[in-house]
């Protein structure tokens, strides 16, 4: 085949005679999938393929569009490498809208000219429907569909405080999430009396509303916007019936989609009464040379607004064009599983129970705003549909029952009832080979098994090979279960080794160290590892475990070689090889004398000084040999090491609390000092940050910390597993109105449980998200002591607390330990390659481009 293609490329005349031209209009998710399928099935042997897209960017993932506002860029949303469209025989025309189709001459017409076709596939998608409303224009008439739309929303949000989404369906709630992640106060206005009227029943809508309102999103139902006028407190005012109104700075319309069938109308293809290019069971339009797929097509009067049916149509058309036999398209399952604004929502099959004779089971939990409904057929033997709000862990099992017509258990209600062991699951072993695991790409359990039999033992590889879980991603959990189950069934073990020296996970090594009382790396390596040296992965990981368990001084001879450079020299290495020094300033509270002492040291050693985000002072630019002198002076002035260099307790940020603040209700500084004093020197899988706020105004930003404490009238609220940084995460409220003693007990248990069960270099936020059973499970372990570990965790923490010693004070007492703090062990000179320049009254490292300035500076010094 490869040979014949080369021949064709070299003899153009023959090629023109033999090859036909296939044009795909639209490069959205469905159009792209069609191109992928065409290439995979060998269409390029018969066709030259032209793809036209009016968007300037190649196909991207619209399902995860809102992640564009939380850090993902356009390129990472792209569905494929650029290479796919560079395949010989494929031409992608980006930013080139097709203006007309000439069905008589079989040509598509663009601003750049005409291209003739033999076959044409329309995948033009849909456009957002914006109801005609007086005054809707500019920032009061935004839509949420393309990356360009998102850029427009972001621009409008720059100076905005509040944003409204018109439409409480699936996309509308996605859009509300996007507004929320832009920092706006978000509201949703829905014409129907409930949210997601298509997917949810009345009670499901009610539960979803309650959940979303708890997240601070305003929900306004049964309201139609009659006009938009200028607002008083905000830019715009949306006017409803009965003189009701809502003011806002921007409005996003997400009131449904309409098939993009303009080209079809222009060339007089048949369109449906409610829009959409009419297609038959083979996705063929009224012109046999033209197919339509995805949201621009109407099958049996219905436009399918989900990605899975679109993919199904794309596969059907690709197969026909490659002369493969294909099953007709006879409608699609509209079941869907989503996380909207962080709330689980699932809808399966006949969610409304419209099938004659169907019966329902319902579970309502008003405390947690959780709702589940199971619809079964008249015989009571089979699942017809389901509605889930608040917990999608039931979804996979229910979907499998429906799709594979598996007979229901004697008590069908048990499938939606909460149970102490979590949602009942249909084990992956119980699924038939024909069971669909990924409905976007139609991947069955059978095809997963054959990939595994073909030698695939890596989940990432499996996804690449089978495409499973690369569409909407909803099957991720099920896919992993099936994959691991099948691997185990084949006697393959999943490799979770730390590195080549230890065939254990960090958690397993932690248990070995604890149980066997191992206190050195050598002992652990000899008993449970390979070789005599270890590497830069296992050494720091084991060093951290040993410190978490036994808290021996890290400068002890056996521990020194394990530490990464920052821990070895107890300072933070900067880009030019110099160090920064951070003395502990507990709770950010510091006396004038201590401030002066820091100033004196900074001045004496000419250190660049900056205030850190954790309410301390960082001193930059110290060379290795200067560290002991600097620390001797700091310790003399009453400071201790701040552990800024370690995966360990960093800071406890605090506000001034009730001592000074007119709003404060508790002494937050005193509590911050107590917490910092207790956990200073605690080493953990990753760094730990704390904060204590003296009232609900939260000036210490405790909700962005691993452990956050906020004062109440009655005591303290504890928040856990928050994070700033690259992937910010709000801490979760863990317990309320605690007294001092209970607060410390819970923090003890929480931190030690994290240290015991987290992976290496895993922050509390990621650890918490990966915990099976989630926050409730964690509450059970910490508060209800469900594992009976409480006292053990507390006493392990107490040992670490009792053994605390300032590492710098310890090192300064021992000349052996100071031996390493020499830039050169045979010469007193400093590193001659380190140069600084002055900037804003302090020195900073010279940049490479400034290096020619060195001689001048050295002469003047």
């Amino acid at each position: 085949m490869g040979f014949s293609r080369v021949l064709l490329m070299n003899t153009n005349v023959a090629a023109l005679n033999k090859q036909q031209t296939l044009i795909v209009i639209g490069n959205g998710m469905v159009g792209h999938h069609c191109v992928e399928q065409l290439i995979e099935r060998g269409a390029l042997d018969h066709y030259r393929l032209h793809v036209f897209s009016e968007e300037p960017m190649r196909a991207y993932d619209r399902v995860h569009l809102s992640e564009y506002f939380t850090g993902r860029d356009a390129e990472s949303l792209a569905l494929s490498d650029a290479a796919l469209y560079q395949t010989p025989g494929v031409t992608l025309h980006l930013g080139v809208p097709v203006l007309e189709i000439d069905r008589v001459r079989r040509q598509v017409i663009t601003a750049q000219g005409c291209v003739a076709y033999d076959k044409l596939v329309l995948a033009t998608g849909s456009y957002p429907f914006v109801p005609p409303i007086d005054g809707a224009e500019g920032d009061s008439r935004l839509v949420y569909r393309t990356l360009e739309d998102l850029d427009a929303i972001r621009a409008a949000a720059t100076n905005a405080r509040r944003g409204v989404v018109v439409g409480g369906g699936l996309l509308g709630l996605e859009a509300a999430n996007a507004l929320k992640s832009l920092g706006l106060e978000a509201h949703v206005v829905e014409f129907a009396p409930r949210l997601m009227p298509v997917q949810l029943d009345e009670q499901g809508g009610r539960a979803l509303k309650a959940q979303i309102e708890r997240l601070g999103v305003g929900v306004h139902l049964s309201r139609g916007t009659q006009s938009i006028s200028a607002g008083e407190d905000y830019r715009y005012r949306m006017n409803f019936a009965n003189d009701e109104f809502l003011e806002t700075d921007l409005i996003v319309f997400s009131a449904g989609i309409r098939a993009q069938d303009a080209l079809a109308r222009q060339c007089s293809l048949e369109v449906g009464p409610r829009g959409g290019i009419v297609i038959d069971d083979h996705c063929q339009s009224s012109d046999p040379h033209i197919y339509a797929i995805g949201e621009c097509a109407a099958w049996n009067g219905t436009v399918f607004g989900l990605v899975a049916p679109g993919y199904q149509m794309a596969r059907a058309v690709a197969a026909q064009l490659c002369n493969e036999s294909t099953e007709p398209f006879v409608g699609a399952d509209m079941s869907t599983k989503l996380k909207l604004l962080g709330v689980d929502v699932g809808s399966i099959g006949d969610a409304h129970g419209n099938t004659p004779g169907s019966r329902s089971y319902q579970f309502i939990d008003e405390t947690n705003a959780s709702y589940r409904r199971l619809v079964v057929d008249a015989s009571g033997k089979h699942v017809l549909g389901a509605v889930l709000v608040g917990d999608n862990s039931y979804y996979d099992t229910l979907l499998q029952y429906m799709q594979n017509a598996i007979a229901l258990p004697a008590e069908p209600a048990s499938l939606i009832l909460p149970s102490s062991t979590g949602a009942p699951t249909l084990g992956p072993g119980a699924l038939p080979e024909s069971a669909t695991v990924c409905s976007c790409h139609n991947v069955t359990k059978g095809s997963i098994c054959s990939a595994i039999d073909g030698g695939c033992t890596d989940l990432g590889l499996l996804k690449a090979q089978t495409k499973a879980c690369t569409g909407c991603g909803g099957c991720a959990g099920l896919l992993k279960q099936v994959f691991e189950h099948e691997l185990i069934a084949r006697g393959v073990s999943v490799d979770k080794s730390l590195c080549e020296h230890f065939a254990y996970t960090r958690q397993e090594l932690y248990a070995l160290v604890r149980v066997e009382g191992v206190i050195t790396f050598e002992e652990l390596l000899a008993k449970h590892g390979r070789g005599h040296t270890g590497c830069d992965v296992c050494k720091p990981a084991v060093g951290s475990i040993l410190a978490s368990c036994w808290n021996q001084p890290i400068m002890d001879a056996s521990l020194v070689p394990l530490q990464d450079t920052n821990d070895t020299f107890m300072a933070n290495m900067q880009k030019n090889g110099t160090y920064s020094v951070v003395p502990r300033i507990p709770g950010g509270e510091i006396t004038a004398d201590k401030l002066i002492a820091i100033g004196v040291v900074a001045k004496k050693y000419d250190l660049y000084t900056k205030i850190t985000g954790g309410q301390r002072i960082d001193l930059f630019g110290a060379q290795l040999h200067e560290l002991p002198d600097i620390w001797a002076e700091l310790i003399e002035a009453g400071f201790e090491t701040g552990h800024a260099y370690g995966k360990s307790t960093r800071t406890v940020k605090s506000c001034v609390g009730s001592t000074w603040c007119r709003y404060g209700v508790q002494d937050s500084v005193k509590m911050a000092l107590a917490i910092e004093d207790r956990y200073k020197g605690l080493r953990s899988p990753h760094k730990l940050k704390f904060a204590v706020s003296g009232c609900t105004r939260e000036c210490a930003e405790a909700q962005s910390k691993d452990v956050g404490v906020i004062a109440t009238e009655k005591g303290w609220n504890l928040y856990i597993a928050g994070n700033g940084g690259m992937r910010p995460r709000h801490a979760e409220l863990f317990a309320t109105d605690l007294d001092d003693e209970t607060l410390i007990r819970y923090i003890d248990r929480f931190l030690m449980f994290y240290i015991r069960t987290a992976d290496k270099l895993q922050r509390t936020s990621v650890w918490r998200e990966s915990l099976e059973g989630g926050l409730d499970y964690l509450k059970d372990v910490i508060i209800n002591d469900s594992l009976g570990l409480g006292e053990e965790l507390e006493s392990q923490m107490q040992l670490v607390v009792n053994r605390y010693e300032c590492e710098w004070a310890n090192a300064l007492k021992d000349p052996e330990k100071l031996k390493r703090f020499r830039t050169f062990v045979n010469d007193k000179r400093p590193d001659p390659d380190i140069h600084f320049v002055q900037e804003r009254g302090q020195r900073r490292p010279i940049m490479a481009a400034e290096l020619n300035l060195i001689p001048v500076i050295e002469e003047t010094v």
Binding site: E500, H501, G531, H532, T533, G534, C535, D536, V537, K539, P540, A557, V560, P561, Q563, D564, T565, N566, T568, F569, M573, K575, N576, G577, L624, K819, R820, R822, T823, F824, V825, N826, D827, R829, D831, D833, I834, A848
Partner: protein, 125 residues
């Protein structure tokens, strides 16, 4: 090629090429220290009881960051070879010949090194 190797072996045998750089007690077990050697910065790694040799001498200059930090890197064994990880960007260099595991274009100078009684000697060839 073989001739230059022969010359090098011959020159290593003459006592004047070996320079004393520091005392044995200046070394830190399983870790690195740095010596100044006529304008060069040489990192010495002392690994008693590890796989391979017990003493290595390698350039202290990290080509990626431009900083003199290799002597403060973490030593390990990767697929049977003794390596040091740069403390700044964590790329690995073979202690035996100074080549880099991740970036072939980065290569560090290495020196012959030996313990001679209570002193450490580096050969300047």
């Amino acid at each position: 090629m073989s001739q230059s190797t022969a010359q090098r072996v011959a020159s290593l045998e003459s006592p004047e090429v070996w320079q004393t750089v520091c005392e044995h007690r200046d070394l830190v077990s399983h870790s690195g220290v740095v010596v100044w050697l006529d304008g060069a910065q040489v990192a010495l790694f002392y690994l008693p009881g590890a796989e391979g040799r017990s003493l290595y001498a390698i350039d202290n200059h990290d080509p990626q960051s431009g900083a003199n930090v290799i002597g403060r890197g973490l030593v390990g064994n990767i697929k049977g070879e003794m390596v040091v990880a740069s403390p700044i960007y964590k790329q690995h260099f073979r202690l035996e010949d100074g080549s880099c595991l991740e970036y072939p274009q980065q290569r560090l100078r290495v020196w012959p090194v030996r313990l001679n009684g209570s002193v450490v000697e580096v050969a300047v060839v």
